[in-house]
């Protein structure tokens, strides 16, 4: 499973020398484990495994002499932490770092708060050379005091960052080894160059999006109801929350009695999740980790439950499910549970002359100009929309069922047959309306156990819940229920090149064909969706859309 998963090799490097650095830095191979620290430069985004090398690099590049400032100001451990955060904050804000940093610059206690999550540099502080001049190293009583104090503070810090203890050990060991060997610190070759979109300043924690998702009651209520109504499943368990966002699902799990929750997200929103967790006094239960699930080191070998809100438009847009499946195969206990547990996908033909007039016909005459050139992409791109249920002109057809406990990544690229009986129409205008395209949506199911025979492939979530209202949780993103932020996905047939029949001609007949989900080349998170169709015994046609 993990072999087939393209992201399982986590050290993929855009510079192509991802293997080189380990060997270069630790020639004996002893330390060439994944546990080497990742120390991010104070002045840019280069990464190092060696704090001293990083500080040398900063001094040479920008003149920022960290050890010099430390010695000049006589900084203790807290002082150094503040100095680090001061510099990182300035760099983060794009401001210049002053040449002569003073005590006044470091007066604010808020500087004790790390700017960089899990700043490996802070963890290495007491391993730095004690003074700029090596002669004084063992002799100064001040240094001894400093060391003592450092040790106390270090213990404190370790409590806060226990998930980093293994990193710390690796740092200490590496540095001890080096200094015993009397090596001059040297520039570490650039470590695995961070992928550009991982750069920690770049992604922005848009409140709006999280507000929209949290306020999507269909979504958030479903997770809450399942977790709170099934506390017996969560009590005492270890839970992994993948793509945790603001941490809401993790906090639900903690409230439901989970012994430990690990919340992972690669975006900067993780910092907010951590604050939220702290604010709600759940930090003893919930551990927040920033990074891709494929890259982070979990503090446990196995989890009992994976909870995740991974669904995208048309269910699979954005390809986040593979990360969940990767984590399932790597971390989930043999009898562990995925929340949610099942999903199925639906398609139906639609006819909506109002939508067509608004968004397609519109371009025929824009202030007297012909802008039909703008219509092409309407047919090339799938669109996320909310259509009124009356637009659906045929029976919805289930075309793909996913049992999330067993589905494999390769199953997410598929082609599936579909067929739908076109509804009868009454009025003349309805009879003259064209079938405009197809609508796709998905249903989600939250089962209490890995095997849930009551969920059939073509169960609707609402129907399944209705059978046992008190206990079952699920939801639909379809057009017959409350709108969700996923809306539905509309595939408009290009009437310039395809023939579409009227509802009058199609009524009572079956329309159907094959729907294919293919990963879109050049759009890592995008999807190509191809739908073929024929009405009754009529001509078979097909069209491809890009969802991006």
């Amino acid at each position: 499973m993990s072999e087939s998963y393209p992201h399982s090799t986590s050290s993929a490097s855009s510079s192509g020398d991802s293997d080189g650095w380990v060997d270069a830095d630790h020639g004996n191979g002893e330390d060439s484990s994944d546990e080497s620290p990742v120390i991010i430069s104070l002045v840019d985004d280069r990464v190092f495994t060696d704090a001293a090398a990083m500080l040398d690099y900063c001094r040479d590049k920008t003149g920022l002499d960290f050890l010099g400032v430390r010695d000049r100001l006589g900084l203790d451990f807290h002082g150094m932490v503040k100095l680090i955060n001061f510099v990182r904050q300035r760099v983060h804000e794009g401001k210049e770092v002053p040449k002569d940093i003073t005590q006044a610059d470091l007066a604010d206690d808020s500087l004790l708060k790390p700017v960089l999550e899990d700043d490996a540099l802070i963890l290495c502080l007491d391993d730095l050379p004690q003074t700029a001049s090596p002669d004084k190293q063992e002799s100064s009583p001040q240094v001894d005091d400093l060391l003592k104090k450092n040790a106390e503070l270090q213990a404190e810090l370790e409590n806060l960052t226990k998930q980093f203890s293994n990193y710390r050990e690796a740092v200490q060991k590496t540095l001890d080894d080096r200094w015993q060997a009397n090596d001059e610190p040297e520039d570490a070759p650039p470590q695995k160059t961070k992928e550009k979109d991982d750069y920690y300043f770049e992604s922005y924690a848009y409140n709006d999006i999280h507000e929209t998702m949290l306020k999507d009651k269909v979504r958030t209520d479903a997770y809450r109801d399942f977790i709170y109504d099934n506390k017996d499943l969560f009590a005492g368990k270890t839970v992994l929350d993948i793509g945790c966002g603001t941490g809401i699902l993790s906090m639900f799990c903690a409230k439901a009695g989970a012994a430990r929750v690990i919340a992972v997200d690669r975006s900067d929103i993780l910092d907010k999740a951590r604050e939220n967790v702290f604010q709600n006094k759940l930090d003893k239960v919930i551990t927040c980790l920033k990074g891709r699930i494929e890259d982070v080191t979990l503090p446990v070998a196995q989890v009992d439950i994976i909870v995740s809100e991974w669904m995208g438009y048309a269910l699979l847009y954005e390809a986040m499910l593979p990360s969940v499946l990767y984590a399932r195969d790597r971390y989930l206990a043999p009898n562990g549970l995925l929340v949610p547990s099942h999903a199925n996908m639906w398609i139906a033909p639609v006819s909506d002359s109002e939508y067509i007039a608004d968004h397609v016909t519109f371009w025929r005459d824009v202030y007297g100009f012909d802008m039909r050139a703008m219509q092409d992409s309407i047919y090339a791109d799938a669109r996320a929309v909310t259509l009124p249920s009356r637009s659906v002109c045929g029976e919805p057809c289930m075309f793909r069922f996913l049992d999330l406990h067993t589905v494999r990544t390769e199953d997410l690229v598929f082609s599936a047959p579909w067929t739908s009986k076109v509804a009868a129409v009454t009025t003349a205008s309805e009879k003259n309306s064209l079938v405009d395209g197809f609508l796709v949506w998905f249903d989600m199911f939250f089962a209490r156990s890995r095997v849930e025979p009551s969920i059939k492939e073509d169960s609707t979530a609402l129907g399944w819940c209705q059978e046992d209202k008190e206990r079952r949780v699920g939801f639909t993103t379809g057009p017959f229920s409350t709108e969700t932020h996923w809306r539905q996905v509309l595939f408009l047939v290009d009437k310039q090149t395809k023939k579409m029949c009227t509802l009058g001609d199609a009524e009572g007949q079956n329309v159907g064909g094959v729907i294919e989900y293919v990963t879109a080349e050049g759009h890592a998170r995008g999807l190509n969706i191809k739908i073929s169709w024929a009405v009754g015994e009529g001509e078979k046609q097909d069209q491809m859309w890009l969802l991006h």
Partner: protein, 344 residues
């Protein structure tokens, strides 16, 4: 609205975004933007009238359309009798614009160039008129004004015209208790959890939304007026002290900002406003929530100042600071504060 940069910035951000954030933005559909702008009647009709009703100004002139998008303004200029129009846009929308121009039989009259104004060469050394729809939210957010000014300095004839040529930002105080509660108070209790860390972020992000005119408690005050013939890029960083006078006894939860646009070269000046007192535009208004709720009595004055500057790191983002002090005899209602905002 500027399109090229919007799309590119949006795409870059989209790439940097996490799953949880992405699917919300997927609907960011290139044509969606142009559709929205073209369907903004206040905007498009004002430009159309300014151009088409002033044939005497456009006849036989060379016109430059900065950030031409679908080329609608270029085509208006041809309709008004322009000798030739050059449309420039960075975005790939220019390829659609070419098709559109051709279909409308204007390919001889309109030259469309994809690229940055700073890097391209024009088929004419100088132009008589610059037309551009460069305005962003809060007038200046992700606006193309700097590009327009560059084009003015490099390409515009000495007595050339700019459409539009005047822009003014206004500010007023508003009563917005319910909505503030929905947008800011929401974070106090999210499914029983304290989400105050996100509240700070919410407060620092100006909200682009529609404000009803009845919410406006004070007289509006202009905080920035730009004359496009004379202004400089450096004018976009500005500080302005101003007073807001309460029209009635009420509470003030936020300041609202909007802008007016004027085409003063027209035979009869044409103006439009994006304020709460007039028709909807896609720019809506921009709301800056204050930390305090001000309790004001009719006639009382709030001394304010607004400081705006492009972010040092990303000049398309704006750093905005608002200071306020309620002048009142009643010490129980006295209030002052400073709020920092970031539009990004």
């Amino acid at each position: 609205m500027p399109d090229a940069m919007d799309i590119e910035v949006a795409e870059q951000r989209l790439k940097a975004m996490e799953h949880s954030e992405q699917h919300y933005f997927n609907s960011y559909n290139h044509h969606g933007i142009h559709e929205e702008m073209l369907k903004d009647e206040v905007r498009t009709r004002s430009y159309m009238n300014a151009i088409v009703q002033n044939k005497h100004l456009f006849k036989d002139k060379v016109v430059l359309d900065v950030g031409c998008g679908t080329a609608i303004l270029s085509m208006f200029a041809v309709r008004a009798g322009a000798k030739h129009v050059i449309g420039v846009d960075m975005s790939t929308i220019i390829f659609k614009a070419r098709e559109i121009v051709k279909v409308n039989g204007m390919e001889d009259k309109i030259t469309l160039i994809q690229g940055k104004m700073e890097e391209i060469e024009l088929p004419f050394p100088k132009v008589d008129i610059i037309i551009s729809e460069w305005m962003g939210y809060f007038l200046l957010y992700e606006s193309m004004l700097d590009t327009v000014l560059y084009a003015r300095d490099k390409f515009l004839e000495k007595d050339g015209l700019i459409f539009p040529d005047k822009a003014t930002i206004f500010v007023a105080g508003i009563e917005d208790g319910d909505y503030k509660d929905e947008k800011i108070g929401f974070w106090n209790d999210v499914y029983g959890f304290d989400y105050s860390p996100l509240k700070e972020t919410a407060l620092s992000e100006p909200l682009v939304d529609v404000v009803e005119v009845k919410a406006v408690v004070t007289d509006p005050t202009a905080v920035l007026t730009l004359d496009l013939y004379t202004c400089k890029t450096s004018d976009l960083a500005f500080s302005c002290p101003f007073d807001l006078v309460a029209r009635r006894d009420d509470f003030i939860h936020a300041l609202v900002a909007w802008f007016d646009i004027e085409f003063s070269a027209c035979h009869k000046p044409i103006r439009f406003s994006t304020g709460p007192h007039t028709k909807y535009t896609h720019w809506k208004q921009t709301v800056f929530y204050l930390k305090d709720v001000l309790t004001v009595e009719q006639g009382e004055k709030i001394e304010c100042s607004l400081h705006n500057r492009p972010n040092e790191k990303n000049k398309r983002d704006l750093d905005i600071k608002i200071e306020y002090r309620l002048n009142t005899q009643d010490p129980r209602r006295a209030a002052e504060g400073t709020c920092l905002y970031k539009m990004c």
